[in-house]
Symmetry: C2
Subunit: 740 residues, 2 copies
């Protein structure tokens, strides 16, 4: 826990500069536009401890796998998110001395602001560069939401005391490295760079090794009265201007960032430079206005208002803000990486988090094509998923989607996850169902969707076998969502999800065009019906796996504080044999299939499992918040909501420095909409079972649903559901049907 930020409804504000918070602030104040993004590195550079991070969507490096003991089937590489050319840099010299917070005499009146409403990152402060020499520094930057290849930085330096000269050196710097690297490979090959003093422009092009992604970056500068001189190093280029210090200086840097995902490799440099120049031609105010307008549109649909609790209000907006910065939904090759554009850790572009947690957010707060791109991402990778399953001995078109991937190939290399945490495969199919149910449109399902569902069903059909001893289809050797159990038999969640997939795929294959013959489909239904679903005798407790009741069952609050988090204190075997649960597992099933279980069943299982749950995954609290809300357990729901909502802002786990928990941010949104708002779609009809936490005055959110836009407002005086767009429809609010 590290609370150093000021809570405001629309802004995150850091007051006073503390180098100890540098890395976490760089994460929290990250900006991006779904195409590219970056950590909040200081424009003028910083020689203290920090982490440079500039990322371009879809540009990755296949880092050769590092492993202690190779297991047959491991992937050859791990697709690493890549630190790319640093385009923010504007070196500043005051009286010939570099402006650098790490070496300055004092950094006073420091304020860093993330303006979430407008999508702006701002800094202001007064810096005593050397004794008796002081300037005021103001910066603002944005990555253009409206024009996805562009960004801009504005810097204002005002002499305050003892300043005789100011020099500026805006650079494009390709001499960057990754902190996350297995073998210290060179990730980038430098292609070329050039600066044109007369035009006040620079361009730099580099290309990733192995994957050959080219990234071009251009800058076009605007600084009144400047005479630029070209500068260069081995892997950087820039322009330098020295000015007298009689007045405040405003330097504007327009930037273009273009990758070979969208342009021919050889054109990336020119296109990037063209984007930068076009930005300069339009001017900073015009660019900024266009960008802010796009954010206005996003907020118009995506905002959630919480009255009466500014921390809750700020937190939900922070989560919504970062989700929109990470994914824009115009490119089926991109996805929602676990750290988005805020850090390197975990690599990869997609986990099952996308389907299980992020899809509902994008379905509800964006036009339908946005969520559909996420589905297409998986359909495009179906061939790779089939290859992946073949590596593990499956055949006849069975598909296993990877645990972590960029391009569809598995990247993860721990057998208990890579080979065994196969429930992820079910989330791919569940996403299809959710999309169709939400949009009311079967088109995608009937073409691409059925192919995915059938291939996944074939995987399950080969992965289970009939146990004569057990008189059931059993699934041995899996890891469920609770990764604090490995290689267990008959994980209830996985088996339940697999059975559902088998039935659903059979249904889809019979309704739509498919190569699954009737007898194959019938065998799927047989397997689903005969699936082993462990349950404690005489109770309605679903057993997380075979043998769960043999454990020493005790509540997590019986642990000493010094033992928490257990994943940092206990050895792995001790965690595994304990009863403690990392994140929802049986309860994840109750969350995904709410209508399959009564409230009593849910309550029994919640009361059994939640006390043993240590919530050491960022994905845990949101599911528990939703279920607790359904059960009317307000205290638990609010506790879990706060844990998910302010996870990064309050740095609960002291790991914000690595980057933000982007996918769990969607869980925060779900906690409000599906938890407190109690939103579900049942037979095509939106249902709301609301709870208003006593610490809130009211809350409101909007949803796109089957060509309508609905607004839901929950206040002590009642629940209002308003239709803002589209045709009339029925909704059910707290059990009562309404026409809206």
């Amino acid at each position: 826990m590290n609370r150093y930020l000021t809570s405001e409804a629309w802004r995150v504000v850091e007051k006073g500069f503390d180098p100890a918070n540098m890395r976490s602030s760089e994460s929290i104040f990250s900006i991006g536009n779904g195409r590219f993004g970056q950590r909040a590195n200081h424009e003028e550079g910083y020689s203290g401890d920090h982490m440079l991070g500039s990322y371009v969507g879809g540009v990755y490096y296949p880092d050769r796998t590092k492993v202690g003991w190779w297991k047959n089937g491991y992937p050859e590489y791990f697709a690493k998110v890549l630190n790319a050319t640093n385009w923010t840099h504007i070196g500043v010299e005051v009286n010939g001395v570099a402006l650098d917070f790490a070496t300055a005499v004092e950094v006073a009146k420091f304020e860093r602001v993330l303006d979430m409403r407008q999508g702006l990152l701002q800094r202001t402060c007064e810096v005593e560069v050397v004794p008796g020499v002081r300037v005021k520094l103001e910066t603002e930057r944005f990555i253009n939401m409206a024009s996805p290849n562009r960004a801009a930085v504005r810097m204002v330096v005002t002499p305050l005391e003892g300043v005789t000269s100011l020099a500026f050196e805006p650079r494009l710097d390709g001499g960057i490295t990754n902190e996350d690297t297995n073998w210290d490979d060179a990730f980038w090959r430098h292609d070329n760079h050039e600066s044109d003093a007369a035009a006040a422009t620079s361009v730099l092009v580099n290309t990733t090794e192995k994957t050959a992604f080219t990234v071009g970056v251009g800058q076009a500068l605007d600084l009144e009265g400047a005479t630029w001189e070209a500068q260069e190093g081995e892997k950087w280029t820039g322009l330098r201007a020295t000015l007298d210090a009689s007045r405040a200086v405003t330097l504007t840097k327009f930037v273009g960032v273009v990758s070979s995902l969208h342009e021919k490799p050889e054109a990336c440099g020119d296109v990037a430079l063209g984007e930068a120049e076009a930005g300069r031609t339009a001017g900073y105010e015009a660019e900024r206005a266009m960008h802010v307008k796009t954010w206005e549109d996003i907020w118009a649909l995506g905002d959630i208002q919480i009255e009466g609790d500014v921390e809750a209000q700020q937190a939900i907006r922070f989560n919504i803000f970062h989700l929109n910065q990470t994914y824009r939904g115009d490119d089926a090759r991109l996805n929602v990486g676990p750290k988005g554009f805020t850090g390197e850790k975990y690599g990869g572009a997609s986990y099952w988090d996308t389907e299980a947690y992020c899809l509902p957010f994008f379905l509800a707060t964006h036009p339908p094509h946005v969520a559909e791109q996420l589905l297409r991402y998986r359909h495009n990778q179906l061939g790779k998923a089939i290859e992946n399953a073949e590596k593990l001995g499956f055949r006849d078109g069975a598909a296993l989607y990877p645990m972590v991937t960029m391009n569809g190939e598995e990247c993860h290399n721990e057998w208990e996850i890579t080979f065994e945490e196969i429930h992820r495969n079910g989330a791919m199919v569940l996403a299809l169902r959710n999309h169709a149910e939400y949009t009311g449109d079967d088109t995608y399902l009937s073409r691409e969707g059925v192919e995915v569902a059938v291939a996944v069903a074939r995987f399950w059909a080969q992965r289970v076998h009939w146990s004569e001893y057990r008189r059931a289809f059993v699934m041995l050797g899996v890891t469920g969502p609770n990764e604090y159990e490995n290689n267990v038999n008959n994980n209830w969640y996985t088996n339940y999800l697999a059975a559902w997939c088998l039935r659903y795929a059979s249904d889809l294959a019979s309704r739509f065009d498919s190569d699954a013959a009737p007898d194959e489909r019938a065998s799927w239904v047989d397997m689903a019906n005969g699936m082993c679903l462990p349950q404690q005798e005489g109770t309605d407790i679903r057993l997380q796996q075979d043998g769960f009741l043999d454990k020493d069952l005790r509540p997590a609050d019986s642990l000493d504080a010094a033992e928490r988090p257990i994943n940092q204190v206990w050895s792995w075997d001790r965690i595994l044999r304990s009863c403690f649960i990392k994140q929802a597992d049986v309860l994840q099933g109750f969350y995904f299939f709410p209508d399959d279980f009564s409230d009593d069943e849910l309550r029994s299982n919640f009361d059994f499992y939640e006390p043993m749950t240590v919530h050491e995954s960022s994905l845990s609290p949101c599911v528990h918040a939703i279920l607790a809300a359904r059960l009317g357990m307000e205290d638990k729901a609010v506790e879990m909501y706060l844990r998910t909502a302010r996870l990064d802002l309050d740095d609960y786990n002291a790991e914000a420095y690595q980057g933000l928990h982007i996918t769990s941010m969607a869980g925060t949104w779900m906690s409000v909409v599906e938890g407190f708002g109690g939103f579900r779609v049942r037979d095509g009809v939106p249902h709301f079972n609301t709870m208003l936490p006593s610490s809130w005055k009211s809350y409101a959110f909007k949803l796109r649903f089957r060509d309508r836009t609905l607004e839901v407002h929950v206040a002590p005086e009642g629940v209002a559901v308003t239709r803002l767009e589209g045709e009339a429809l029925s909704v059910v609010v707290n059990g009562e049907s309404r026409e809206v």
Copy 2:
């Protein structure tokens, strides 16, 4: 399978030079004396593919752990067996051209011989160095069994055709590397080297990084008529002499190898040089005679004669030979490494193999102090075993012996092995029992033994817990000897062994001095009595672990040949969830506790498990051979015997190139003595239940037992047990009691 060696009763012979067999021959023809040893690298050097390997007992490097995903509790390093200074080298130039099999025109009449009776490695061949230039090359070397710091090489070069000059350059070369390295660290720091042309001697000293083991190596040369010139490189030193080519030249190189395990670091060079010079003073024939005499003594007790099957005869001697080369029992810091002095793979000095497989061999074929050193090794490391357990959350003096170690610290880093394959702890206690039962002497047990047993019992007592649901003490999350199952619950073998340990430790603690109070001892017996021991209802099948019967049970011979070995073809998850067994697991328990189970029980379990066993561990066939012999299953016993006995000679698994399976060689010995010979100690009385394979005419072995030496001869006409030494005693032969 790669059969290219000639079978003779006392010799292993390679005829004809084939570079493809270079690495495996280097392993198979390895020599050593328990103090140091080496692969059969060519003295004159070899520029083709091969693996240099010279090893000094107890000298290791702590290689920083390499792991994909760190788990709490993993060790910081892996103790690597280290390639040390190459002291065999004698460069030869013929007419100025290096003699090198890889570049020669032809290598004719090549014969390499491992003379096991005398402990000699010999080569003879004719080499056409360049067209029309031929020499005969004869070499012989040995590592002195009688004088453990010494070795000698004799080389004879005879000009055959077109030879005008011969040059020799015997070197000591410290510029060596390890193939097995995690991070390409420099393992050695070079200290100094020097050659004295007048004295015809050289010395080289180097020291391991981090562990600071110093190794000094000296050479003293004898070559009639030579004028030596000193030569040196950065990390080598040597002497060069050029001779006319009118006659055969005999060069003798006497070597000393000394490490700081036995001398002060600063003295290692001088002592090594002194050993080399002392060897030269004594002369080659005298040194050789002393060495051969020591081997005679070893064979006098250790030999097994098999008449009628030369392959079986050669194989058993090959195994006995290498065991004696690996361990001499005069230093409690050394142990029996999995590859001995024949390769680098697996690192470490000891696995549970030592206690489970090697101890009986050393008990039976050597004076008692030899086996006792193996026990002392573990007692000396008890403090580290307690620290190791503390790292995993155990306390109050509970000890967990490491999976792999040099100095007592755990080196292995796979959670399913390191943290979970804990049955190894029981083998430590079983070794104590076996030693006491065998020697009839409780002295060691009463002092050191009881301390080890109590510390291990404390581990088991904390590792199990009472399951109210199961009404038993359960042990969750273990890996049994069958490593094709990971993280299982209630592995029958581990639970049975733990229960035995608890009772045995309680008994020892009550008989001897111990800090285990009566109530602690009583709790151990309660746990042992209440231990969960899974068994199939209505049968006497002990279940390998909970849930074993849910598997798809089918025999290993239902697998396609293309799927074998499954550990090279199948992905790890597929292996884990299959029924296939790597090595004896339940049956290992039947082997260790033969008197606890009836023959019918053994037969049921053997018939159930053996067909599912793929024997992909070198430790598997021997146990099955012994049990099959007990059950009178001659075909199976012989099949299993041949698989263990000729594993390396016939290179069954195409991995001899990595080094030999030293510890499983003890299993071969057990297959004969405990399998066909049916040897057991029951209440202090030796029992023999013999089987004579129909392909053998007879076999005979000797045993030291409680101050006696017995000879057992098994032939169609009957079984003779003769007492060669010591007082009269009773034995039981095929159920009938005899006084011997």
